[in-house]
Symmetry: C2
Subunit: 418 residues, 2 copies
Amino acid sequence: MAHNAFYAQSGGVTAVINASACGVIEACRQAPDQVGTVFAGHNGIIGALTEDLIDVNQESDEAIAALRHTPGGAFGSCRYKLKDIESHRAQYERLIEVFKAHNIRYFFYNGGGDSADTCLKVSQLSEKMGYPLTAIHVPKTVDNDLPITDNSPGFGSVAKYIATSTREASLDIASMCATSTKVFVLEVMGRHAGWIAAAGGLAGEGDGEPPHLIIFPEIAFDRTAVMARVEESVKRYGYCVIVVSEGARYEDGTFLADAGNTDAFGHRQLGGVAPTLAGMVKQDLGYKYHWAVADYLQRAARHLASKTDVEQAYAVGREAVKLALAGKNSMMPAIHRTSEAPYQWDIVAAPLAEIANQEKFMPRDYITEDGFGITAQCRQYLSPLIQGEDFPPFENGLPKVAKLKLSKAERKLAPFTL
Amino acid sequence: MAHNAFYAQSGGVTAVINASACGVIEACRQAPDQVGTVFAGHNGIIGALTEDLIDVNQESDEAIAALRHTPGGAFGSCRYKLKDIESHRAQYERLIEVFKAHNIRYFFYNGGGDSADTCLKVSQLSEKMGYPLTAIHVPKTVDNDLPITDNSPGFGSVAKYIATSTREASLDIASMCATSTKVFVLEVMGRHAGWIAAAGGLAGEGDGEPPHLIIFPEIAFDRTAVMARVEESVKRYGYCVIVVSEGARYEDGTFLADAGNTDAFGHRQLGGVAPTLAGMVKQDLGYKYHWAVADYLQRAARHLASKTDVEQAYAVGREAVKLALAGKNSMMPAIHRTSEAPYQWDIVAAPLAEIANQEKFMPRDYITEDGFGITAQCRQYLSPLIQGEDFPPFENGLPKVAKLKLSKAERKLAPFTL
């Protein structure tokens, strides 16, 4: 007998999270004996709590297929973390009420480490509260900091965007440096882990090719050492390209640029390390600078997605459904690297308890001894993840994106206040 | 009898200035009876003054063809303006000395408005100083502020990049706005003219589609009016996307973000209007924000170049050679729009005296009456310029770029101090 499924997106979105949605939905549509309606939570788990459900069955196959090349989170995402079952039982009772009302027995949550914690808690509904639910986490995060999985879907595309942008902007400043800009600073995402910054390192392939300096959150920021390297680079090559992580921090843990705000998960909202660093360059060395902050552009850049990343994002979506239909509660489809050259991968099931709230940092041996570059091992790890192009269709000069109806399912319950 | 040619790049580079270089060089190679060696000035006109010449004949046809898909300025650009012949005769005598020493009779200068002034002065060498030189300006500027020509090569690609990035980032913030970021600010180039900001407007096609607000340098910044519109947008759509020109300024002409530095042309170095504006949003309305500053990324983004732009950039390069060989001194090949729908264009010769030091601003009727959007006329003008994709070849996941030998021509003269 068919039951219904719930799918939602959580945390910061990516260029390919909708490709995972596409994988989940298409796999469900191909198992009509087991899955009836797919409901998408409007704005993540909040959609489940408030019974704000999108009836995905109303969407055409073409619209669902178009999700594969549409960035952002088509159903709305959220930064909202469930508290413990023990102390916040009412929230979980509400979830069960909603799931029951809509005959939902499959739960797919598409997110990163914080969201995996929410999915883990939901996966305990059957054991702790007796509601028969199979909950599967679908991995996604540009930060690439999920453990176990070879990489996190979303990361490969950001990595390709940052490596490409670094290469392109480096050619620009190289042309200008004789009489104008000498230092270019590109700020990239990665609050705690320097994976995205490391990807900037792929831009240069030969000795002395930019970027000349990568500033990782894993390596304490030492202004004197950084400035010495900047000066050396300008003297040697005529210019200096720096890729800096938004999470760059001093020895004592203070961020270089701390806007002082916190998000809903309690993380401090960062931003502005590029201008901060550029200001230091001006002050200490007097060089003319330019700086860029890619911000959302990097994680929304579906036009330059990695084909490998798109395929993996889609595959973890499909695999999540397979796991759910096999009754594997509290699992996450993880990417497993089966061969290095040629890069080959398959998908394995990983227990969610080993994933939630864990962060995978850059191994020290992925960073050069001086702390300013990536090693051959790092390059070997990263390079396969940016391989291949998967350009979206263009119309009128711009990427086409999915147009969904987003019809809401009829509400059956009383309102619920978060 | 064949004479030699000098080609150089000047001012801020673009994603397609090397496509113009490719056009110039290929056209010269196809006229061996008239053009012997092409010398490229290393770093623009400075290369001519200091006899720092690259012997382009040493480059293979393949390398020259690859210039078509390589961003930045392959021969080095400069921000250096020639003074008047009357007051700085020594510089012009030096130019003649260098041109004579290398049998240079054709001069191609690839740049924007400031560079057109330099080219204009060089074009006076024959009349005022009796040296038989034909000087042609090859148009280029992302700012799209050159007069006469339908558009400036380089602009169409930035426009496509900004429109695409705005669309992509808008999908990102639309997903996040329920519980997180409400306002996204994208800062774009365009010091005095709002063409690039206007291109952001192409991202949205239907009513209410982002961007919700464009801030042009042509319209005095009114904080109260802007904040009212931001609030209205957040209330109506849940979020607000703003595209702001780096040249945004108050009624009295003060820039919103004035770093206080000036470049070699005496222009103030701008940057940081996005964080400034985001700060105002936080202060006045309390919304959570994100901001991005694309900076060099936008004008170096060859991976997303407009096919129309690449073709035009290449064509003006070829046409410049045609004009030079026909003895048309002091001209610029300009793009002429011969048909609106379908967009068709050809190239006409425009007198340099009518181009140098002129800036073409957005016509007032290209901006909506409220000052915050683009009109149908503007859309009709801009849209053809971003049509078509011309993806570069990729290798190892990254765009391939031209690798030039950049062999220097032997020096024949004593050094010269600028």
